[in-house]
Structures are given as structure tokens and as C-alpha cells.
Subunit: 383 residues, 2 copies
């Protein structure tokens, strides 16, 4: 049995849905003949009103909960939240995880074969945006027979998608659960993304994004990008608590080898990441983050951008998250309140920084559990 | 006339001092036949008690104030602070700027010829520490006939040197002016240093530190390192104010080119830096930062580490500095107060983040001016 035995959805299978109709993208590009990888847990009820869409952040996927028969250690990234008896209870909800277009875990992305050339898309894969992802998710929902989601939930970049659902498809979402996110990146956020991209693009093994045909991977750039990311996911305090100045041996090496545990941790995370993540996907996803700015088409007014939203909202942030600080969530809340939406907002006192949205902090999970309990109580059809 | 005409020390000349005696380094290495580049402004008075040593941070040098005859645009990095009538008044003080051992602006460093091989030292240049720099600065002071400095002043890494002077040479320093620094790096601080080092070391043009013999420079790594640095020098708010989401053109490019001003700024800073800064020096200096931890040899007690100090202290921090937050300065202040030292502490409300220590914030300069005024009033000899 895998790690997720208790309250787990158990063994799951990834599925793929193929879309032959062209998808027009916000950036002007088009993509046809694409596939979306997804997973579902639980059952869609007769009223078809108990579906929950889970949107992922930078390096996650459709594998949200459970394990695979042939890979029992590969536990879904939000398994602590989703499963029978868990805050998002798969005995009551039909949960859908989807891998975003442009990603590298099964959905069509830069590493997929471009039918026009017979080679991987590479840098020719079009720049995709949060809104494009939401449109493609809506098409998947059509195929799955889901007219309206009981909830769309996501953290970080996933939270941006949940928010975008609320104004792009106001009739198709009953609740938006928007966690640890921002209505748009700050200059500092963009700066971190840009440094990560420069590290990748300037890696000689990147080959302008055509590294596939050279049989190499820009590992150095990916490592540095991931190390930068990790620093921003953890709070200063959490890092101090977890690593501090703890050393690997008693004495300084007086070299540039690993002396401190934090160095070892970051190198390990960077190396692991570079072994599985696609460099072009990293560029695409950070750019989607940079470009997300719903207020931009409304003279800078977030309130106006969110005006179409009819859903109820749960907005949550974490006190030690400096990547998307509570203040950024409050900007969303203020716009929603000004629009007379039903909003529950929680600033959760958690020490883990941005990463907290993935952890099973008691207060956080109690909040989500109560919120989904309320959603479940309102469902029309019973299983 | 150069930019620094008003209240400027005017045209200055860099000098070099050669040391033939071996310097034993904390890491066990030794270096002989080294040179220190330095500049002086003002005159040493008859009592030889009006000398002020300026210690530099990561990428600065001995060129602290004034301009060069052949390079009038090259204004010293702390010219706004130091000059006739300025807070550190060169009509009253004899100011010494020194380039640290291992740097790349004139003092012996990795780019210098190793007499043992006839080639640049490169990676064979020994790892130097804050304490090593202080010892070498003391040797320079001997040569300049300075028994005791009226003050040693520095910000950031320079502040660490000023602090180290106070306990390594308690009889040779009357005042330590310790700005925007920390008694040791946090895990997050080390993490940023480590990412920067990885970017440099993994650049194929680094050649294990022997890039000189290949006629190349690891520009890509240096660029990324500098971009990371810049993010940590500016506050989130300062970056928001200076750049926000301001774009270079009206529309998104839907590419990975420069869309936002902050991207342009960082790329420019990175490229400029990589054109003049030595990659091995970058490694050495970040390691000196990582290793600085006076409490380490005293069971973790900063108070004990600072016990020898007899100087008076001015400790200053900036409210928006998240690289070395005010709390880190307070750790120093608390240890000094517990040791019954004379300490003035100021947490200056400035929006510019860590960079504030280089800027001419009115409150900040008024504070330094008043402090140096008090020092001047106590000097024994008059010019």
C-alpha cells in the first residue's frame, strides 16, 4: 500500500481527453489536436452538481490524490486534502484534476510532437495564459457532462485559475476557493520569474528551446530556477526553523562545497526538479503568472474585472507567505465585497510561507472542511 | 568636472600597498606578496587620531569618494556621504577606503597572477573571511601610521567588517559605525548566496574557476547572480513604486522577451555587472558573508563574542530592508548593551530596502552627520 492508505482515494488512473477543434489562445495563437490529462475521484451524482475542479500551480499536475498501481510511492500532490472523509470528501464530491495545456505531465505541451513538423513543439508551443487554461478546462467539463462546478479550487497559480473561472464562466461555478494567490504579480514576483527564465534561456543546453533534438536538457538553468523558487515558497522563519545555520560537518570547509544544510537541500531540490520538469514548460508557466492581471482590461479596476462573478468565495492566505502575502488576497476580497459577493476570508496563522497551502495545517484544513461541508449540504442530488 | 563637484573631494588617485610578509588566513591558507588598493581623502592630523576606515560591501571598492582625472564619470560609491562639508567631513577626517583582498578592483585577488604558477590564481585563491580582511586592513593602517581609527564604518558586508574590528582590535577603533547588517546570515540569506554561486559555477564558461586561461567569462552565471542580488537589495515596495507592472509597450508580447520594465532593469544590471566583476571574487565574497558568525566560537553567544569591544557604536538599520532586517541589527545592539557598551541605535524609516545604506536619505545622513560631528569634537589634534 502507498503512503496515502488512510482516507485515500486509493489507486487511480490518469486519463486523457482529445480535442480536435482549434482552441484560440489569448496571445493570438491557436492549437488544435491537443490532449488534456486528467483524473477523477468519487462519482458524479445524478444532479451532476457535485463536481469539484482542482487547478494546479507551477509544477503540479492532474495527479491530485491517490496513487498509481505501478507507482505506489507517487502520491497525488493534494492527497492530504482530498479523499474519503477528508476536507474535500470524495464520498460526496466528484473531484476532477486536470493537467494544464503547456505542462509536461501528460497534457499537450512543448515536449509533445507538433503535427506540423513531426518534432516536439519546443519554443513554437504558443504562450498560454490563465484564461486559456480556464477555457480548456471548461471544454473538458463539457465532455465530462459537468455543466456547473460545485467548486473550483486552487492555490497560488491554481488560485488564479479559480478566480478566473468566477468571471469567465460565472454560471458554471457555484464556489471559487482561492488560496494563497494574488490578483496580479508584483514587480518583485515578476523579477523572480524573470531571473528563473534567464537562468534557463541562457543555459547553453537550452538551444533556444530546441534541446529535445540535441538530446540534452538545460539542467543547470532548471536547477537554478527551482532553487530560486524554493526560497520564495518558504518563509524566512520556516527556513530558519528547518535549516538555520545547521552544518553538514562541524567545521567550515573553506570552499564552495556544501557546508550548510540549506545548501544541500536547495541543490537536491534543484537536481530532482531538473530531472523531470520541462524547461519550456517552466517558461510558459511563469509567463502565465506574469501576465495574469484581470484588472488590466478594465482600466486597472479589479472590482470591474470581477463584476461578472456570481459564485460564493472562500479566499484564504497565510500570514508568513511573502510570495503572495495576505495583503494580495485582501485586494481580491475587497473587490468582491464591493461587488456584493458572498466572501469568506481567512488569514491563516501558519509558519510555512507560501508552501502552507500544500500542507495539512489543522486550522487550514478545518476551514476548508467546513466550507466544503456547507457546499455539500446544498447539493441537489444525492449519490 | 565630474558629477561630484559640489562638496566633493575632487580628483583622487588610487594607491597600492605591497605586503611581502605572509598573511595567515582563517581557513588555513596563506598568502604572501599581496597588494591592497586604497585611496585616502583629507589629511591625517598631528595626533593621528582622525582616521576613518570605510569598509566595502559586495561589489564596491576602495574608490569611495571623488573622481579620477582620466575617468570623471567614475564617482566613488559613497561620495554622497564623504567629502568636504558632508556627514563624514574630509576637512576634519582622514578617510581611508580599501579594496578587500580577493576582490577585483586592484587588490590581489583571483584574477591576479599567482607567483607560484605565473597564471591567475583563479580557484586557487584562498577563501578569505571578514576577519582576514580586518587583519589585512590593520596591516595597511600600520603602514599608514594609523594606530587607532576614529571610526570604522561600513554597510552590509562592510558593517560586518566594522563590527569585527571592534572585537578583533578593540584598542585600535574608537567608534564602530555598523549599518544595515547582521551578526550572521540567516538560512534565507545563505540560500540566495548559494543560488548565485550555483549559477556561476555551473556556467560552462566558468571552467572550474580557470576561465581566464580560456579567454572567456561566465557572463550568464554572473548575470543571474547579479539579478538575484538586485531583487534582495530593493524592498518589495520600492520595486513596486519604481517599476510596478509598467510595461515597455502597450501590449503583451506573448513571448519571453522583455515586457515589463523590471525585466529590462534586471537584465541591464546583470549584463553591466558581468562585464566588470570577477566570478571567482563573487564566490569568495558571498562565502565570506556566509561564514561570518562571531558567536560561533563562543557557544552561540554574540554577547561573549563582542565582549572585547571597547568602541562606541552607531548601529543603523532600515525599516524596509528585508535582506538584513532591523531585527538583525537589534541582535547586535542587544549584545552590545548587555556588555555595557555605548550604543546608539537607529531604525530608519526609509522605503528603499537594503540599498538605502548607499542613498542620501535625509534622516540617515543627518544621523551620520551628528554622530561624526560628535566624534570630531573629541579629536585630540586639530588639522
Amino acid at each position: 500500500m502507498g503512503k496515502s492508505a488512510i482516507g485515500s482515494v486509493g489507486e487511480v488512473q490518469a486519463q486523457r481527453m482529445r480535442f480536435d477543434d482549434e482552441l484560440a489562445l489569448r496571445g493570438g495563437g491557436r492549437i488544435a489536436g491537443y490532449e488534456l490529462a486528467y483524473e477523477t475521484y468519487g462519482e458524479l451524482n445524478a444532479a451532476r452538481d457535485n463536481a469539484v475542479l482542482v487547478c494546479h500551480a507551477l509544477n503540479a499536475s492532474h495527479h491530485v490524490a491517490g496513487t498509481y498501481a505501478n507507482d505506489p510511492e507517487n502520491v497525488g500532490w493534494w492527497d492530504n486534502l482530498i479523499g474519503p472523509g477528508k476536507p474535500v470528501d470524495t464520498e460526496r464530491f466528484f473531484v476532477v484534476g486536470v493537467n494544464n495545456l503547456g505542462s509536461c505531465f501528460g497534457s499537450t505541451g512543448p515536449g509533445s510532437i507538433n503535427p506540423a513538423t513531426g518534432e516536439p513543439y519546443g519554443p513554437d508551443f504558443p504562450v498560454v495564459t490563465v484564461e486559456d487554461w480556464v477555457h480548456s478546462q471548461a471544454l473538458l467539463a463539457d465532455r465530462l457532462g459537468i455543466e456547473r462546478f460545485a467548486a473550483v479550487i486552487g492555490g497560488s497559480l491554481g488560485g488564479m485559475q479559480a478566480l478566473a473561472w468566477s468571471y469567465l464562466y460565472p454560471r458554471r461555478i457555484a464556489n471559487a476557493v482561492v488560496i494563497a494567490t494574488a490578483p496580479r504579480l508584483s514587480a518583485q514576483n515578476i523579477a523572480f520569474d524573470e531571473v528563473a527564465r534567464r537562468a534557463i534561456i541562457t543555459d547553453p543546453d537550452f538551444h533556444g528551446g530546441h534541446f529535445y533534438r540535441h538530446g540534452v536538457v538545460p539542467r543547470r538553468g532548471l536547477q537554478v530556477a527551482r532553487m530560486i523558487g524554493h526560497i520564495t515558497y518558504l518563509s524566512d522563519d520556516a527556513m530558519a526553523e528547518k535549516f538555520g545555520r545547521t552544518m553538514r560537518s562541524e567545521k567550515y570547509s573553506f570552499s564552495f562545497d556544501v557546508d550548510f544544510e540549506i545548501e544541500s537541500y536547495l541543490r537536491y531540490q534543484g537536481e530532482k526538479f531538473s530531472s523531470y520538469f520541462d524547461a519550456n514548460t517552466y517558461l510558459l508557466i511563469t509567463r502565465a503568472l506574469d501576465y495574469f492581471d484581470p484588472a488590466r482590461d478594465h482600466g486597472g479596476s479589479l472590482q470591474q474585472a470581477l463584476a461578472p462573478a456570481q459564485a460564493d468565495f472562500l479566499v484564504a492566505s497565510f500570514t508568513t507567505d511573502w510570495r503572495f502575502a495576505p495583503q494580495r488576497s485582501r485586494e481580491i476580497v475587497e473587490a468582491l465585497v464591493a461587488n456584493h459577493c458572498n466572501v469568506t476570508y481567512a488569514a491563516i496563522d501558519a509558519p510555512h510561507g507560501h508552501d502552507a497551502f500544500l500542507l495539512d495545517d489543522e486550522q487550514y484544513h478545518a476551514l476548508l472542511g467546513a466550507y466544503f461541508e456547507r457546499i455539500a449540504a446544498r447539493l441537489g442530488g444525492q449519490l
